[in-house]
């Protein structure tokens, strides 16, 4: 027996060695491009430094954080990000669910719709932003023209100039870009629900509405939850859509836009790093909470 065990052990040891060897490039690269920059960002947040190289650092303790907490623009960017995230994620979930339910039924041309769903997803965020910016143009934009023709509005709106409307505009654009992604994921979830359940329900005389509330929604819940969480994480980091459509305007400035503005436009690397660190903490807390929630759900 002995030689076999020895041989087995040596194979296991060899596999462990090979395993680490295979992981090494990935570990080294990730240390270099994520752990180091993150550590550097956190470190810099305790210093006063301009964007001139070589960096001249002056230790200021928590000064940057104190300034951050008393800057109304920062708090506005947090509020904007929360409003943007809540409205766009809610809308795209509802719209995504409607699209998914529709595509899940049997009809001719289903394949076409499924392909069409990938179009907004595949379009680069910057392109989607420019496209919506053009469509929402106050004088020559097609959206105003269409809404007027349908008599939904009585005068053209200046979507990208009037405070509240700018937020509506960026949410509209974001919902168009991401609702199809939501629909794809929910569709996959719908397809995993056993058909027998619906047959049994029909035999028992359940109406379509009852089937939806009693079967579809409860069984879709885990997928819905994961999709919601991922979209929320994404929306909290929003940069492209708002930056291209509205720049750094106060009405829609997001946390990421505020951070980059401090860092590059105002060339304040210490303060900018404090902003970055604060955003990291906010998202880390959100992630920790959701992992805990998911664990409860899965159990």
């Amino acid at each position: 027996m002995r030689p076999t065990i020895a041989k087995h052990n040596s194979l296991a040891a060899r596999k462990a060695r090979t395993g680490w060897l295979y992981l090494m490039p990935t570990i080294l690269i990730l240390l270099l491009v994520t752990v180091y920059p993150l550590g550097r960002t956190i470190y810099l947040s305790f210093f006063e430094a301009g964007l001139r190289f070589p960096l001249k650092l002056e230790f200021v303790g928590l000064m940057n954080y104190i300034n951050l907490f008393s800057d109304p623009v920062w708090w506005r960017s947090v509020l904007n990000t929360v409003i943007f995230t809540a409205t766009s994620v809610a809308l795209e979930t509802v719209l995504g669910l409607i699209i998914a339910l529709l595509v899940h039924t049997n009809f001719r041309g289903r394949g076409l719709v499924r392909t069409a769903m990938l179009v907004p997803w595949a379009i680069p965020g910057v392109v989607a932003a420019q496209l919506w910016r053009w469509m929402l143009n106050d004088v020559y934009g097609v959206i105003n023209d269409l809404l007027m023709k349908l008599q939904l509005i009585s005068r053209p709106y200046a979507w990208l100039a009037e405070g509240m409307l700018i937020m509506v505009a960026v949410v509209l654009a974001d919902v168009w870009k991401t609702a199809p992604f939501m629909a794809l994921i929910l569709l996959a979830g719908l397809q995993a629900i056993p058909k027998e359940l619906y047959e049994a329900a029909r035999v028992d005389g359940a109406t379509p509405a009852q089937q939806f509330w009693r079967i579809t929604l409860p069984l879709l819940r885990p997928v819905l939850l994961v999709a919601l969480i991922f979209r929320t994480l994404d929306a909290l980091r929003v940069f492209d859509m708002i930056y291209v459509m509205a720049g750094t305007q106060i009405a829609t400035i997001s946390m990421s836009i505020y951070g980059r503005q401090q860092l590059l436009e105002f060339a304040d690397i210490g303060y900018g790093s404090a902003v970055s660190t604060a955003i990291f903490l906010i998202i880390a807390i959100y992630t920790a909470v959701y992992i805990a929630t998911l664990k409860v759900e899965v159990r």
């Binding site: 680490w20 993150l38 960002t41 769903m117 990938l118 907004p120 919506w132 998202i283």
Partner: protein, 276 residues
């Protein structure tokens, strides 16, 4: 009742198709109009003349060809590098049993949650230090932040689904782990690699924040940055015909990929959500 139901269904489907596709239709229409036709009311829903000249002008007004090349090089290199490095890691994480494996796996997953903005100043300094600021290779390095963990994660889930038997046979025949990886596993991982490669390529091709921050001129500027910073004669009159032409050009390769590899892309996108 049944007829009414079908009618409502098709009306709904039609509405959704218009919603999904109209904006892209509008980009194409706008890219074929003259500036005069763009800035006039009432709006034409179909171009009076097809002005293909716009597509030539995009390349003349600025080095758009160079931007396209930059984007292709960055996205292509990012994808190939992630697949190469990621497939080794995925094989180790998906197959080998050793201490510390799950720590590495979850750490890799955690990295995908990092907000890009939190790495911005550190990455800026890293690239300056390495002399890779305003450099395509620097962008590739920065893109490893999202492409590598994603590739590792997706390929690991593929490796776990591959049956043990073939590999077992190779080991019994005395093959080393590396020989097994190359001769047995990589061919079996090919579909997963196509999916991971496609999603990584699309993500890198579309990326904006890093590209905007870590490039300064034409040498390394990518298409999304060029499209976002298009400027006209005056800031009030943007050259929308050119912006739209550029937008259509940069989107076409993606649409071709989507049409050809639709199944693979959907499989990759839904892998995480449905498996949990």
């Amino acid at each position: 009742m049944n007829l009414l139901y079908r009618a409502l269904l098709y009306a709904g489907v039609g509405l959704i198709l218009v919603y999904l596709l109209f904006p892209f239709y509008w980009a194409i229409i706008s890219s074929l109009k003259t500036p005069t036709e763009l800035f006039k009311t009432p709006i034409d829903y179909y171009p009076p003349n097809f002005r293909w000249q716009n597509y030539v002008e995009v390349f003349q007004a600025q080095p758009f060809g160079r931007y396209l090349l930059n984007s292709a090089v960055v996205a292509g290199t990012t994808t190939l590098l992630s697949l190469l490095i990621g497939s080794f890691a995925a094989y180790a994480l998906g197959r080998f049993q050793f201490r510390g494996r799950s720590v590495v796996y979850y750490a890799t997953l955690a990295v995908t949650m990092f907000p890009q903005i939190s790495l911005l100043s550190g990455m800026f300094i890293l690239l300056r230090t390495l002399g890779l600021y305003n450099n395509l290779l620097g962008l590739v390095l920065a893109y490893m932040v999202f492409s590598l963990p994603f590739t590792v994660w997706l390929l690991t889930s593929f490796v776990r689904d591959i049956p043990w038997e073939l590999e077992e046979a190779a080991y019994v025949d005395g093959a080393s782990p590396t020989q097994t990886l190359f001769r047995v596993m990589l061919p079996l991982m090919a579909p997963g690699m196509v999916t991971a490669g496609l999603l990584t390529f699309i993500h890198a091709w579309n990326e904006f924040l890093f590209a905007l921050t870590f490039t300064i001129d034409d040498k390394a500027r990518t298409v999304p940055v060029a499209i976002a910073t298009f400027s006209g004669v005056s800031s009030f009159e943007l050259p929308w015909h050119l912006i739209m032409a550029a937008s259509v050009i940069v989107t076409i390769p993606l649409l071709v990929l989507v049409l050809i590899f639709q199944q693979r892309i959907v499989a990759g996108l839904t892998a995480g959500a449905v498996k949990g």
